[in-house]
């Protein structure tokens, strides 16, 4: 079937450097003595740990359960004992620590009992819960929980399998497609079934002819009713929005997801994980990692989640002049501050870098507004304008020029003749805007709270006054009744009560009621005082819209 392809604006033809790691088949990485499994593997919330230190765990046993809507389970990647639960440094650009479960492996690889999921006799909800409990997340980079992405069941016509792998150096999806095409397509069919998608397209960049051939052969073999579609090798083709645009012509703006347009996109590795989870009952314990760059034995390894990256990289034999390590590709990855951090589900590639291989960019020069960045931007932004605004901290203008549509693909910085690290400016501006929004939201909330407090006090005062008035009326009625009973005492009481303080109870009262009258007067006085003090202490009332400072 021949189908029309659409193009997106800009993009880059990059030197892909894929040959050096794509030639060798996937090798299993040796079992590490110690696996450090981060509880936060993607999504918004970390999983909640359910094991304790000293506990024996089997391979595939849940060690942390999904906690909240956007979380998925985490498992013991191998059998052994839990030796520690606590913060360990994780793969993060700032070298942050995060809660991890440390497992001393026993080398037995003793599996927990598991069986395939009976997809044909289960409801959609059950299947999604199964995927959540198998810890299946997107393996393309964002590690977003797959069950959430499958969430709403109807309205998706097209499932796109992302095998573009557009970043240079990375070949883990390429190898996976070459070697396990049938399993990937099996997973894809499960995804399509869960989404109710009628159309299934596999998008693969045309610089991977072997992967395209393997996937086509597999599609013919299992008759998956899908289309394997080569797409031009144009970075960032693997970006979800770019691939959807290329294959369907639909453009998904910032703040919208593919679902809103009847398209959903999954990475080929994710489809493979879905297949393992459903057809074999195996949770996501390992992934394929490309080890490449300044190494003498580049290739792809299947490694357990939690394997320390230094052990992993040693397999590829980095050369002596290696001075940095990138996690991810050179366009969107980041330099690891330290290498003794564990592999996470999102970790697709480690690049050993040397000054020769990835030289530091030349010094930054002024922008000459040559618009090369605008020509390269796949989001069709004007990066140089955003740069001027970000530099000048003119964040409103930056947002106005759709800063948040920037996908941080790095095309602009790549082509900039002035070597301006444009993406850094955009990250900075975005985080400043987010921080400011948060501050604003907090201030708004504080103001709302303050205004409600005023309203509540006012309301209570009114209620109290109403109550008092009711009580006074009651008293009056009672007095009237008493007076009617003893008319001869009236004259005396009237004289005695002529004091100006007998406010509401202007009517004469019996001597027995004097105490009550005084109580009422005192309460009213208190209320009045409170009112004046409240007004005095809060100049920022409803009339003044400014939120109270430091409240």
């Amino acid at each position: 079937m021949i189908s029309r392809l659409f193009s997106f604006h800009g993009g880059l033809k990059l030197d892909d450097h894929k040959d050096i790691s794509a030639a060798t088949p996937i090798r299993p990485a040796p079992l590490s003595k110690r696996l450090i499994v981060p509880l936060h593997q993607g999504g918004r919330q970390p999983a909640r740990v359910i094991v304790s230190v000293g506990q024996q765990v089997a391979k595939g046993e849940i060690i942390a359960v999904a906690d909240g809507l956007f979380s998925s389970a985490v498992h013991a990647p191998s059998s052994g004992s839990v030796s520690d639960i606590g913060p360990y440094p994780v793969a993060h650009p700032s070298g942050l620590s995060a809660d991890c479960v440390v497992i001393e492996t026993d080398g037995e690889e003793r599996w927990i009992e598991h069986q395939p999921f009976d997809l044909e006799h289960a409801s959609r909800e059950q299947a999604l819960a199964w995927l959540r409990d198998c810890g299946v997340v997107g393996l393309g980079g964002a590690a977003f929980p797959s069950h959430v992405k499958l969430g709403r069941g109807s309205g998706v016509d097209t499932l796109i399998l992302n095998g573009a792998e557009c970043e240079p150096w990375i070949t883990c999806d390429d190898r996976l497609m070459r070697e396990r095409a049938v399993d990937i397509l099996s997973g894809a069919r499960i995804l399509a079934q869960l989404l109710g998608a009628r159309e299934l397209i596999v998008g693969i960049e045309d610089n991977k002819p072997e992967a395209i051939a393997a996937m086509r052969a597999a599609a013919a073999e299992i008759d998956a009713g899908l289309r394997v579609q080569p797409v031009p090798a144009l970075y960032p083709m693997g970006g979800e929005k770019q691939l959807i645009r290329t294959l369907t012509g639909k453009e998904i703006p910032f703040g919208k997801i593919g679902f809103d347009f009847g398209v959903q996109c999954f990475n080929v590795g994710t489809a493979y994980a879905v297949h393992r989870a459903i057809r074999h009952g195996e949770p996501l314990l390992s992934r394929i990692v490309t080890l490449t760059g300044n190494v003498s034995n580049a290739g792809n390894w299947e490694a357990l989640i939690g394997t320390p990256l230094d052990e992993l990289l040693a397999l590829a034999q980095p050369k002596v002049d290696t001075d940095r390590h990138l996690l991810g590709g050179p366009m969107m990855g980041f330099a690891l501050p330290q290498l003794d951090v564990p592999l996470v589900k999102a970790g697709n590639c480690i690049i050993a870098a040397s000054p020769r291989l990835l030289p530091a960019p030349p010094a930054e020069l002024p922008c000459i507004r040559c618009t090369a960045c605008a020509s390269a931007c796949p989001a069709e932004l004007q990066p140089f304008e955003l740069y001027w605004f970000s530099r000048a901290r003119n964040f409103d203008k930056a947002r106005d020029y759709q800063l948040f549509d920037c996908i941080e693909c790095g095309c602009c910085a790549y082509v900039c003749p002035s070597h301006i690290p444009l993406v850094d400016y955009f990250r900075f501006a975005k985080s400043e805007i987010r921080a400011r929004d948060q501050e604003q939201a907090a201030a708004d909330q504080a103001r709302d709270r303050f205004e409600f407090r005023n309203f509540r006090q006012e309301r209570e005062k009114e209620e109290k006054a109403a109550k008092l008035a009711a009580k006074a009326a009651e008293t009056r009625a009672k007095l009237a009744a008493d007076n009617a009973a003893k008319p001869n005492e009236t004259a005396n009481e009237t004289v005695a009560d002529a004091s100006p303080n007998a406010a509401p109870a202007a009517s004469p009262g019996a001597p027995a009621d004097d105490a009550r009258q005084a109580l009422i007067a005192a309460a009213l006085e208190r209320a009045r005082q409170r009112q004046t003090s409240a007004t005095a202490s809060s100049p920022a009332t409803a009339a003044d819209e400014q939120p109270p400072a430091a409240s």
Partner: protein, 338 residues
Amino acid sequence: MIHSPYIRQPVSVQRTMGLVLLALLPGISAYIFFVGAGIVLNLLIATVTALAAEALVLRLRGRPLKPALSDLSAVVTAWLIVLCFPPIAPWWLTACAVAMAIIVAKHLYGGLGQNPFNPAMVAYCAMIITFPALMSQWPPAGGLSLDVQLDLILGGSREIDGLTAATALDALRTGLRTGVNAVDTLKSDPAFGFLGGRGWEWVSAAHIVGGLILLATRTISWHMPAAFIGTLAAISTLFWLLDPASFASPLFHLASGGAMLAAFFIVTDPVSGATTPRGKLIFAACIALIAWLIRSFGVYPEGIAFAVLLMNICVPFIDMKTQPRVFGHRQSRDGGQS
């Protein structure tokens, strides 16, 4: 700490400017051949002045010298000034213009990337207003011998009659103002060659070659040259057809003066020009329109420099109103508002 992307295209401001200089070489070669080798001395004077002025201001501003001096942008400005100037302009006029361009038009606004006006055009306009006589002395057709050229450039006496002559644009303007049929003059006088002045049409042709180099290397986009040439051709064709006796032909307009130099090297200055695709078209088209108006009805024979400056003023507005549509958005940013 360096962040992604970790790979960069092997491009630089220096390379961009170097390409512009390279693309000027065909035009300069034709200039030497048809007009005279004196231009080489002018180029030398201008280059030295530009670098000296740049170094001086950088020193005064406390900025590092090397990056700015090696980016070649000052040299581009200097060469463009020389190519716009009469080839027999005295050395001090060239030096003044270049110094003015670098110090006033470029660095007083903040240096490279910050100047709202095209520095070469600022210098040209300032000089044509200040020294109108010197700026309108062009060598006669057939050129002058090299030693006369050098003598004039180095400040020799300019009293000798017949040393200079009216350019084709001068003749056109004089004709239009005095009611003499200008176009016939242009056709009958062999001094004006068959298009825009003898020899000059070849310089223009060589500039087109240079422009094609810039287009092929993607140093400039097609928008501005296309809009400039297209508009100049269209407006001159229209009036030429309406009144061929008073208005010059489109070929004449395109081949004479600095039209081709402007189309590929001056209008396309990225710093002071419009940046959006639509904006570039509007910007260059308006320059062509204003240049034609000045050429046809104005006081000055060549109007491109004034047109460029006038449109430089409009750039922020043009850019703001022509922001392209962002991926996934229905309308361009300005589409919905005001």
